[in-house]
Point group: C2
Chain length 414, copies 2
């Protein structure tokens, strides 16, 4: 026993010594473990802990009541489940069987958040890191789209462009589809905008854009396209770690601060992309979409440049029709191929999404409103991208395979 | 007070609600805070904790004795310092003033590792995440090179290539210098290899390659060059998150498993790069360097292809001369512009580094051995890259500004 302990210590130390600046080795535990029935087991070792819990979006939400003094508010918080302690201070919990998805979670040890040390997969959302895992219950489910499949892969590049309008160098992320480098073709472009507190890496990191596009294109469900993901916070040059100063991102970059600057400077982005990439230019080859703040920006951009974007996607973010009647008239006078709104039924943005949809219906402007379950969350934005991307740059034949795929996804119960 | 609490709760919840899938808001604490004297203050709130400590490479190492049964071994573990509890359960610790560097640390709460929730900056090394921060005490110090400066920035792209030799698609990371997109020039290439347990993202994430190259090039201390960072674990297609399967990286990919496959398949990488990027081909425009396992791979590659690499950098990783006498003769018959070994004085690899150096000296092969402080750690590999890159693809005039910069860095006490 003593020898085993010494060996373990030595193994741990030799890892530290021989390998790099890591402050400790792995835990030796498997967590999370995806079981054959698609339930998931979490494991964490800590003999001193009094309670160990897991909280994440794979659990049913739990309503919590907040006392605001003069009134009370109910908030749907992520669920919490208790791990049970076993031999060796190893705590475990097994979930119910789960559907294919990308899930986020954190551990709570005596009530304090701890990253699962057995799981290297983590994603940052604004200023919060969480562990993540993907699960695919069957080929073609949502989790399958978010995982790397054995298909041809596109490239993801982080490039800098000059913005004369904002007097700064700025960073953007660009996806070019598999085959781009070996082709002489020009490709249509989707400009894809992040939300408040996000940056040019949000759509690839949290949104799994490269995987979704690779998989949709490989299946023949989406046209090969370039996806441009700029930084939509006009006063930030780049994401944390790529920017001068080690800033902490916050949600304070409000709508009013960002939108006008984004509209005015957007041609700088398009000029750069059209100059440096083999882009099929023009209305019917150009789409804009975004989530939350980026949805509102997309809505404003389409009104500001009504002849630029033949496809518009507003994911949980819109502008209201009031005051924009003329601009909307110009948008629809250009006859967009698709004007698509996606919003969660529990999302506060649904009120304005419906307001815009009803106004457009009244005016005879063709607008699709896709209502999904849940609220203002990345889960929905990944779904919206997976659906929206299939509509882009193609005219569907009735009964076509690709159209059927969109409809299946829209009808799936999430 | 109650109202303040309710407001805080609401603020927290509204962040969760309005923003994205984050499971919690920021902490409201600043940690780490870099003080005017370049000391650093760490803060962490937890009224229930009995002890809170910080461990990291900014602290003096602490020798720990390991009992192996038949013998004992001393290991220089990262230092540990105690945070002191203050009002509101906020624990603090302030370090001594620090030199410009990139530092890694973790918190220990009642002895268990916890990520600093106030610091979004984290880097993964093999299977371990740690918090990081950079500090620049004066322009031109090491920390300055590792930070993003207000200089022209190169691009970092993650691309896939086909390896007929390994019968797989594989991912590599490529840095192209500022101006590459707008130029018609051809650029020299540095192939830069990671260590055991690493992947094609290690040199950009832990090694700060893009920042080092941007800053050296902007200063005129390095020639504009392309840096190609492949995945040197032949049986992995890509880094975790970009690969099929959510694997946990380990250190088990030993030398013998990797090296021959890497040597045989390396032309697949060079063919891809030379076909898809504007590369200045040939011996005097091509460098190879790597750390640890990648150092040994670089050594083997230079022997396998003695007329390919005019510059060779072996960072804490070499092959021994025994059995390689003929291959080494061929390497030096081609008259490399630079054959540079970097190794830490406390590194176990120093024995073999000296063995190679002494053999080359005896044979009259010109080899530089640069000995730095410390051991087998990323701190040294960033330093080696910062020095090595300045020598590449240029002949120094005696007394030149660039040469002086290299010499300053080599003579600095770290």
């Amino acid at each position: 026993m003593k020898r085993i302990l010494a060996f373990s210590l030595l193994l741990g130390c030799s890892l530290v010594l021989s390998a790099q600046q890591a402050l400790g080795p792995g835990t030796g535990l498997i967590s999370p473990e995806i079981n054959p029935d698609h339930s998931v087991t979490f494991r964490y070792q800590n003999p001193k802990a009094i309670t160990v819990q897991v909280t994440g979006d794979f659990l049913p939400t739990r309503p919590i009541e907040i006392d605001l003094g003069d009134r009370k508010m109910v908030y749907d918080a992520p669920g919490i489940a208790d791990l049970q302690e076993g031999p060796g201070g190893i705590w475990t919990y097994t979930s119910a069987p789960l559907k294919g998805e990308l899930y986020s979670y954190s551990l709570l040890v005596d009530g304090k958040k701890v990253m699962d040390p057995s799981n290297i997969y983590q994603i940052r959302d604004v200023a919060t890191w969480t562990n993540v895992f993907t699960l695919s219950a069957e080929p073609g489910d949502l989790g399958w789209y978010y995982e790397v499949q054995n298909v041809p892969h596109g490239s993801v590049s982080h490039v800098w462009y000059n913005s004369p309008t904002l007097s700064s160098q700025r960073r953007l992320t660009i996806y070019t589809p598999a085959g781009y480098e070996d082709s002489l073709d020009r490709y249509p472009v989707l400009y894809l905008l992040h939300g408040s507190g996000g940056d040019e890496d949000a759509w690839t990191d949290l949104g799994r854009t490269a995987q979704i596009m690779d998989n949709l294109i490989a299946q023949g469900y989406a046209k090969p396209m370039i996806v441009v993901m700029p930084n939509g916070v006009w006063f930030n040059q780049a994401a944390p770690g790529a920017a001068v100063n080690m800033f902490q991102p916050t949600m304070t970059n409000s709508r009013s601060q960002s939108t006008i600057e984004v509209e005015n400077s957007f041609p700088d982005i398009m000029d750069f992309v059209e100059k440096h990439f083999r882009v099929a230019k023009g209305y019917s080859n150009t789409a804009v979409a975004g989530l939350s703040m980026g949805g509102r920006q997309s809505c404003m951009l389409s009104m500001h440049y009504p002849r630029k974007f033949g496809y518009v996607g507003l994911f949980s973010g819109v502008a209201v029709p009031e005051g924009n009647e003329e601009a909307l008239a110009a948008v629809f006078a250009a006859k967009p191929k698709l004007y698509w709104i996606g919003c969660g039924k529990a999302d506060g943005v649904m009120v304005n999404s419906k307001k815009l949809k009803e106004y457009c219906d009244k005016m005879g402007y063709p607008v699709t409103l896709y209502e999904s379950e849940g609220g203002h969350i990345w889960r929905n934005w990944r779904i919206y991208l997976t659906i929206f991307a299939q509509y882009l740059f193609q005219d569907f034949e009735p009964g076509s395979r690709a159209l059927a795929a969109v409809q299946d996804l829209e009808q799936e119960e999430f």
